[in-house]
């Protein structure tokens, strides 16, 4: 299950030149469900390469942040720029890994077919998935150590293996910015090791990876930067400067009620 160096060496990610423009710059992002604000005036700038954790208590708007940034849910206000431009989804520059619980794992589809979805934007509309696409998908499955399980129906994989399939799909996309929603939640130690190693590999090849994460303890060991959210942005920057007792108390302590809550009576 552990990545063999042979596999890694034979499929190296080409290093990218440093981009002068941030992969993701967010200004004043505000999102509301009906009339209840979920994110309020969030600013965020991602480093050109590195691992960034998005942290905060339940209901702080962490997943919403990723979805709103990607335009999957409408935003009330704010501006989002990828590499200095509005998002061009078809470019495949930005890879999204949804929460594992967001999909139906009983779906009649195999692991390799799921990974091949990472190539759909390149295959183009109305064209079928061909053998060579599946071969390319197998290569990515190999990178996450699941080559043997490529033809299994996805429901027969363990939670950690399912998460690795999702990651392999994002790898197949060969993006420059990765947005991952809780990739380390509820998975076994072996899978966690594979996932973390891959994240580091992405960083080493100049990618930016933004990860919604819930386990504060593991943050310093994995991530370079962090953003602490609770509807508003509490703090952002290098992990050491973000995870201070004062910031954590503001995020997790007394329920943070933005002043809008009082205004709108929500």
């Amino acid at each position: 299950m552990v990545l063999s160096s042979r596999i890694r060496d034979s499929f190296p990610l080409p290093p990218r030149p440093a981009d002068p423009v941030s992969p993701l710059a967010v200004a004043g992002l505000t999102v509301a469900y009906h009339d209840r604000p979920v994110l309020w005036d969030v600013d965020f700038v991602a480093p050109p390469a590195g691992l960034v954790a998005v942290l905060g208590p339940n209901g702080a708007g962490k997943s919403t942040f990723l979805k709103a940034v990607l335009g999957l849910i409408p935003k009330l206000a704010g501006e989002v720029r990828f590499f200095g431009r509005p998002l061009d989804r078809k470019s495949g520059l930005v890879a999204y890994v949804p929460q594992r619980t967001a999909v139906d794992w009983d779906f009649p589809i195999t692991a390799v077919e799921v990974v091949a979805m990472g190539l759909y934007h390149r295959i183009g509309w109305l064209r079928p998935v061909r053998r060579r696409h599946l071969e390319a998908a197998r290569v990515q499955l190999d990178r996450v150590g699941l080559a043997d399980l490529a033809d299994r129906q996805i429901g027969q994989l363990s939670g950690g293996q399912q998460q690795r399939v999702f990651l392999a799909r994002a790898l197949a996309q060969d993006a420059r910015l990765y947005l991952l929603d809780e990739p380390l939640a509820g998975i076994d130690a072996a899978s966690e090791q594979v996932v973390v190693e891959l994240l580091r590999e992405l960083r080493a090849t100049g990618r930016t990876v933004i990860v919604v994460h819930h386990d504060l303890e593991s943050v310093p060991g994995i991530f370079d930067e962090a953003m602490l959210l609770n509807v508003r942005r509490i703090a952002a920057g290098p992990v050491g400067t973000v995870l201070t007792p004062a910031n954590l108390a503001r995020a997790y302590g007394v329920t943070f009620a933005p002043k809008v809550a009082a205004v709108v009576g929500g």
């Binding site: 009906h34 979805k67 990607l70 335009g71 999957l72 061009d88 989804r89 078809k90 495949g92 930005v94 890879a95 999204y96 890994v97 949804p98 967001a102 999909v103 139906d104 779906f107 009649p108 589809i109 195999t110 799921v114 979805m117 759909y120 934007h121 295959i123 509309w125 109305l126 064209r127 079928p128 998935v129 129906q153 429901g155 027969q156 994989l157 363990s158 939670g159 799909r169 996309q173």
Partner: protein, 327 residues
């Protein structure tokens, strides 16, 4: 005894129409099932009635196209309405669907009863029961009619309509299979990749509406639901591969259509009765029986297989998972 001329004039068109209806709806049902929107087939087939009545009231004609358009528009509108009610009232999808489909169906019935539409050949009973037996191919006396272009041009309209719709549905699944799959499996990821999952979902619903409208005239509103759900559910029990599931669902639809019609039309003859039974209903019953059989006997997920796996698991002292895999 069954006479050839009777078969060609009466049985063949009805049989073909029922089977095509099952096929068109059954193919689409695969994706509705996987999106857990099987009840949308329910909603869509109910609102066909108000759509047809409204189209008649607006245009004043009973010609086919205005009615098809009206029904299709009503079906699409109902989908938006369900979505609106669900979000505005903040209730689960099932409850929203219940509110919308009963209200619209009631509206359709009242419009039909109150307006002059009842005088023309629309009535609630047909909407609820279907009238497969009314589909006849007049003048087809022998097999040469099957290759005679002049005769073929007189094939009954519902049959031709369903043939076109079934072909279109099959093409749609063929061409959009990859997009429908990703939009059904992981709409969020699909959208992030520039594949508009919502729009694709809408295409599926419009296609379902069209299929429901085409099937409606032959089998009625409620039996259309059986066509949407049963073949796909039967196939779902039997396989874990999408391609095979679609093929098996088509097979189940064909079987239900032919066997159902045969039972309804010819089984009573064996008991000396001259009148056939309701063919549309019988097709639904056969579709349901196929589904029931597959639920009981499917090799891996069937009730018997699971019971056996459980008892074996208990004997070997480890809790075998009934799902046949790690949850």
């Amino acid at each position: 005894m069954i006479e050839l001329a009777d078969f060609l004039e009466l049985d063949l068109p009805a049989l073909a129409t029922g089977t095509l209806a099952a096929l068109a709806c059954g193919l689409l049902g695969n994706f509705l099932l996987l999106q857990r929107r099987s009840l949308l087939g329910d909603a869509v087939s109910h609102v066909v009635l108000p759509g047809i009545v409204l189209a008649f009231l607006v245009t004043g004609s009973t010609s086919t196209w205005p009615m098809m358009l009206g029904a299709g528009a009503a079906a699409v509108a109902s989908v938006f309405l369900i979505d609106l009610v669900q979000r505005a009232a903040r209730i689960e999808a099932g409850a929203a669907m219940g509110v919308v489909l009963t209200s619209l169906f009631a509206l359709g019935v009242v419009l039909l009863e109150q307006s002059g539409a009842r005088a023309v050949h629309l009535d609630v009973e047909h909407a609820l029961m279907g009238s497969l037996e009314g589909i006849v191919w007049l003048g087809a006396r022998d097999f040469s009619a099957l290759v005679d272009p002049d005769r073929l041009a007189t094939l009954p309209e519902p049959l031709l309509r369903l043939a076109v719709v079934t072909t279109m549905v099959a093409l749609l699944l063929l061409v959009l299979r990859k997009e429908l799959t990703i939009a059904s499996f992981d709409p969020g990821y699909a959208t992030s990749l520039g594949i508009p999952a919502r729009a694709i979902g809408l295409v599926l619903l419009v296609a379902s509406a069209v299929a429901a409208v085409a099937a409606f005239a032959a089998v009625g509103a409620i039996l259309t639901i059986a066509m949407f759900v049963c073949p796909a559910a039967t196939a779902r029990m039997l396989t874990d591969r999408l391609g095979r599931q679609i093929a098996l669902s088509a097979l189940a639809a064909l079987l239900a259509g032919t066997l159902g019609y045969a039972l309804a039309a010819w089984a009573p003859l064996l008991f000396g009765s001259e009148r056939g039974l309701g063919a549309a209903g019988m097709i639904a019953v056969v579709a349901g029986c196929l589904q029931g059989l597959s639920i009981l006997l499917a090799p891996r997920y069937g009730a018997l297989a699971r019971a056996r796996a459980r008892s074996r698991g208990r004997r070997s002292g480890e809790g075998a998972t009934a799902r046949g895999g790690v949850p």
